[in-house]
């Protein structure tokens, strides 16, 4: 499996050390990632193996992976996005929002190894703020953002109304924005 990672620069020393790193990452993380994906998204299609493979391929396409500090969150986040990309309404929603933001010149930053490295303090900050959300809001964020559930699905599984879910997610995003601003002031 590691040779499927697609490193074509193995002949150079830098390339071979990168190849070794990718092999090690794959060895250390692939099985756990596949397990994790199976528990969250079921057996597919796409299969958890395919999602993990796609995530590793994306990881290998970046030239600066040796700089990644948060390799696991980065890898899992990439896999989550690959999984969500298979949910039709979610893919349409993402495409619509991307298009709208590009159109008005407000394109988003991609999640790349370089950005994760440079923004690690801010990403930690975001994690701390998310940790402080009320339990119900954390559950909604988890289901909506990570599992790609519609409010109808969340409602069916939790009994909460769609309007309540929508309001709670809005409040969560407001609290996160405010929290990031507050934490960054405290840090100074």
């Amino acid at each position: 499996m590691p040779n499927q990672l697609g490193d074509d620069t193995a002949s150079s020393s830098r390339g071979s050390s990168r190849q070794r790193l990718l092999e090690r990452l794959y060895r250390d993380h692939a099985a756990n990632l596949v397990d994790w994906l199976r528990r969250r998204y079921g057996g597919g299609p796409p299969s958890p193996e395919d999602i993990a493979q796609t995530a590793f391929t994306k990881l290998a396409s970046h030239s600066d992976i040796q700089h990644i500090e948060k390799i696991k969150p980065y890898l899992y986040a990439t896999a989550v996005n690959v999984a969500l990309d298979e949910i039709k309404w979610m893919k349409r929603t993402e495409a619509f929002i991307d298009h709208e933001l590009n159109r008005i010149g407000q394109a988003l930053e991609e999640i790349t190894p370089e950005r994760v490295y440079q923004g690690r303090e801010q990403l930690d900050r975001l994690a701390r703020v998310m940790e402080r959300l009320p339990k119900k809001q954390r559950e909604i964020v988890k289901r909506s953002r990570f599992l790609g559930q519609t409010y109808a699905q969340i409602s069916a599984e939790t009994g909460w109304s769609g309007a309540d879910i929508s309001r709670q997610l809005g409040e969560a995003m407001i609290a996160i924005q405010a929290g990031i601003a507050t934490v960054s002031t405290e840090d100074k």
Partner: protein, 344 residues
């Protein structure tokens, strides 16, 4: 789900709060085309809305990285040993170094970047540089923008420039500006005045945000002008070439394309204000930007009078003596300003 509706307009909401509610609506799985249309219109309504939504959406995107450990804490698979050797990047991007430097260093860096009139803001989730520019009454000044473009602001004018990796944008809040835009087809340069948006890739043009309308005059290149409405840009828009201009209403309705003399369009930059069959109301509004003691028209209908005249920006009293000599008007100097009214 019938109970998921687009957020209602409430004046108490900040753009940031509204952005959060729009995100919750869009990711409900129940958003309709109509609802998405309303979202697009809201997004375009102001650059504050646009920036607020971008910031919210960027957080939403970044949550997948930050939330893995937080929301799935019982997972040994996620928490664990750090991996790989951490080697800093050789050249951190400038926005990051600005964010992470200690305060003293921040101030020093900031001081070296800031122009006399400007304030720089850097944010991780919205890595834009925003700078304000303004001129005093009577002052005409040329500024260099971060992309190499140059803008000359007429007296008593204000604008805010927003630059990022992908965007060059200016909000003209008041007054008049001449733009000489550095060419960059990959990164269009936009100017917004009231509800009119101007979009170029590299050219020279003049934007006059007058009391009742916005005039766009093109000296070189091609300029696209369209209303800022819920509709897609391009619809209802016009394309202007050198020597053409349009006047659009404050709510963004664009008038017919007119011809003008490009050589005279930017003479104000040299301190010469030239008017040919111009409304007296417009002339007074512009001339007032060059004087401390304002000229006031006693009667609104006087504003519709057409005049042809040239005055030096530094000697706008010549307008008053010209009016007295050639039109049936009389000038009274009062405590509240210089009153122009019909001769009795």
């Amino acid at each position: 789900m019938a109970d998921i509706l687009p957020p209602v307009e409430r004046d108490v909401d900040t753009p940031q709060e509204r952005a959060a509610r729009w995100l919750a609506y869009l990711y409900s799985g129940a958003a309709t085309d109509e609802g998405r249309g309303e979202f697009s219109a809201w997004l375009e309504r102001s650059s504050r809305n646009a920036r607020a939504y971008r910031r919210t959406q960027q957080i939403w995107r970044d949550m997948t990285v930050s939330g893995i450990e937080t929301l799935f804490p019982d997972d040994d698979a996620v928490r664990g040993e750090p991996d790989g050797k951490v080697v800093p990047f050789e050249r951190p991007a400038r926005w990051l170094s600005l964010v992470t430097e200690r305060r003293g260093a921040m101030a020093a860096i900031a001081a070296s970047l800031v122009l006399a009139t400007g304030v720089w803001r850097m944010e991780f989730y919205d890595p834009l540089t925003v700078q304000s520019y303004r001129t005093a009454i009577g002052e005409v000044k040329t500024f260099a923008l971060p992309d190499g473009s140059r803008v000359t602001l007429a007296a008593d004018s204000r604008m805010e420039a927003t630059f990022s990796k992908r965007r060059r944008g200016v909000d003209l809040a008041q007054g008049r500006a001449w733009f000489d835009v550095a060419s960059n087809p990959a990164k269009p340069f936009t100017v917004v005045a009231a509800r009119t948006q101007i979009r170029v890739v590299g050219t020279q043009f003049d934007v006059d945000y007058a009391p009742d309308d916005v005039r766009v005059s093109v000296a070189r290149g091609i300029v696209r002008v369209h209303p800022l409405t819920g509709r897609r840009p391009g619809e209802a828009g016009v394309q202007l070439v050198a020597g053409q201009r349009v006047v659009s209403s404050l709510n963004g309705r664009i008038g017919p394309i007119e011809r003008f003399d490009p050589a005279s369009a930017a003479l104000w930059r040299t301190g010469l204000l030239i008017y040919h069959d111009a409304r007296l109301g417009d002339v007074v509004a512009e001339v007032n930007r060059y004087r401390a003691d304002k000229i006031v028209l006693a009667d609104k209908s006087l504003g519709e009078m057409k005049i042809t005249m040239a005055v030096r920006a530094s000697h706008t009293d010549a307008l008053l003596s010209g009016l007295e000599a050639t039109a049936p008007l009389q000038i009274d100097r009062t405590s509240s300003g210089i009153l122009v009214r019909p001769k009795r």
